[in-house]
């Protein structure tokens, strides 16, 4: 099992965001699926110790995440946040950021290609890219660390449909070319169905269902139903 959460509770500013959450996320592609404000982004941040739970345990490959060096854990389990948050400088500066801190070699052009970007943008000012391009630079700089797990928080929420399709295609190719596991936070049932093998449905800080995507999110018989379901 890649991740196991045991009765995890997390509060923020006096509000309970996650309540006694227990979940298992296997190797491969998992989705944390739920409406906005359900606590799924918070849960994602617990997986690489950007935050620690108030109670309960988060286990990565059989060990409590608190037993790992947090910096090493974050290089192995890398998180791409929902909104682009690039450092000042070029696209190359951004892709180089993580590997330089870790003293590792990297190939910026390969990372950009893997993230579905034209490698010739390497020397452009990152702040002048479109939001869709910035989001993919965020993906490229996480890939540059060669993580074993990518945590993706609503990776396409800021994108139009074409860019969304490109990012989803990128994630599919990435899985095919590397042995990487994905944990994708999304509110979009259809996207969870397209990306994930395993799904944990979250609502109001609790896991309400979990299991293989094919069982939990069966293909709708008619397109109209899919539309209605997507709107939830």
């Amino acid at each position: 099992m890649l991740f196991e959460l045991e009765e995890v509770t997390y509060s923020r500013g006096g509000n309970v965001v996650l309540r006694d959450v227990s979940a298992r996320l296997p190797v491969g592609a998992s989705s944390l699926l739920g409406p906005s404000g359900s606590g799924k982004s918070t849960l994602l941040r617990l997986l690489n110790r950007l935050a620690d739970p108030d109670a309960g345990r988060v286990i990565y490959e059989g060990r409590d995440v608190r037993e790992y060096d947090p910096l090493a854990l974050r290089r192995e389990v890398s998180l791409v946040p929902q909104l682009p948050a690039l450092i000042d400088g070029t696209v190359h500066d951004n892709v180089a950021y993580g590997p330089r801190l870790a003293g590792r070699s990297f190939n910026a052009r390969t990372c950009l290609e893997l993230a579905g970007l034209d490698p010739t943008i390497e020397d452009r000012d990152a702040a002048k890219l479109s939001v869709g391009e910035q989001q993919r630079v965020m993906l490229a700089r996480a890939i540059a660390l060669e993580p074993r797990v990518l945590l993706l928080d609503e990776p396409t929420s800021a994108l139009d449909q074409a860019a969304r399709d490109a990012v989803e295609g990128t994630l599919g190719r990435l899985r095919a070319r590397t042995a990487i596991s994905l944990v994708v936070v999304t509110h979009d049932v259809a996207q969870a169905r397209r990306i994930a093998d395993h799904v944990a449905r979250i609502d109001a800080g609790r896991v309400i269902a979990q299991g293989p995507a094919a069982e939990l999110l069966p293909e709708p018989p008619e397109p109209e139903l899919a539309t209605a379901e997507d709107a939830t």
């Binding site: 948050a85 690039l86 801190l101």
Partner: protein, 265 residues
């Protein structure tokens, strides 16, 4: 070099009547505030009363310290200034968790280092007449610089929490994640004094020089003493701002390099 300040500054006597006459200018400020509904009349009144009481009190304290010529009393006075300075600066840096201790340490070290250096190099005599006023200026300027620097740091960490957390997520340490902000905060803390040092003599006459000229000192001595103080203050504010930032930046994070106040999801 020892500036013969004591020899030339005792030739002026200011009466309370002359101080009271200067209040005419304060009346103009109060009238302007009333006319433009700026709502500052009460603050101006408080400022006048507080400045009178505080300076009169410190005047008596300094007189006692000068008469006693006691190193212990000098040290006690500067220590009190450092503690009050840290309390005052803390209010300016409310977005910085537990800002008091970094401020206390930075003001204390800035005062000790700069006073130690100017006394060690023989720039000033180790007597209360030099150490008390210079110490007051060092602590006051250090307080302002540290407060401005931490205020800027607190605002930047709050405004850029997403970017900071995104770099933590790539394996950056908390120190590495705030490095770009540290540069800006240090600059904010020091820029006022650096700019005023650049323009001194052209756009304004600094206070010490004005005070010495009014007291009848030779202009060359007044200029040289002012230059010494400006250079001493540049050193002091850089120590205070840098140390306050270095110590306070840790307070935004847990030991596991997590933001204590992460961005809203």
């Amino acid at each position: 070099m020892t500036v013969p300040l004591a020899a030339s500054s005792s030739s002026i006597h200011v009466t309370l009547g002359e101080v009271a006459a200067a209040l005419a200018l304060v009346a103009i400020a109060a009238i302007a505030s009333r006319a433009w509904h700026a709502g500052l009349e009460e603050d101006i009144g408080v400022a006048v009363v507080r400045s009178f009481l505080q300076l009169t009190a410190i005047g008596y304290v300094i007189t006692v310290i000068f008469d006693e010529n006691s190193a212990f009393l000098v040290l006690a006075l500067i220590s009190v200034m450092v503690v009050f300075g840290a309390f005052t600066a803390r209010h300016r840096a409310q977005q910085v968790p537990n800002a008091f201790w970094p401020l206390l340490a930075s003001l204390g070290v800035a005062a000790a280092a700069t006073l130690g250096l100017v006394l060690g190099l023989g720039i000033f005599e180790a007597t209360p007449r030099y150490v008390v006023p210079v110490g007051g200026m060092v602590v006051g300027n250090s307080m302002t610089a540290a407060a401005v620097a931490l205020n800027r740091l607190g605002e930047d960490v709050h405004d850029q929490s997403r970017r900071i957390e995104a770099t933590l997520a790539l394996g950056a340490t908390s120190s590495q994640a705030v490095t770009p902000l540290v540069r800006r905060s240090l600059r904010s803390g020091m820029i006022t004094l650096v700019d005023s040092t650049k323009t001194t003599g052209l756009i304004f006459f600094p206070g010490t020089m004005v005070g010495m000229l009014l007291a009848g000192a030779d202009p060359t001595d007044a200029v040289r003493l002012q230059l010494i103080l400006l250079y001493v203050l540049l050193g002091a504010v850089s120590i205070a701002a840098l140390m306050a930032i270095t110590l306070a930046r840790r307070n935004f994070f847990t030991p596991a390099h997590q933001l204590r106040e992460p961005p809203e999801p």
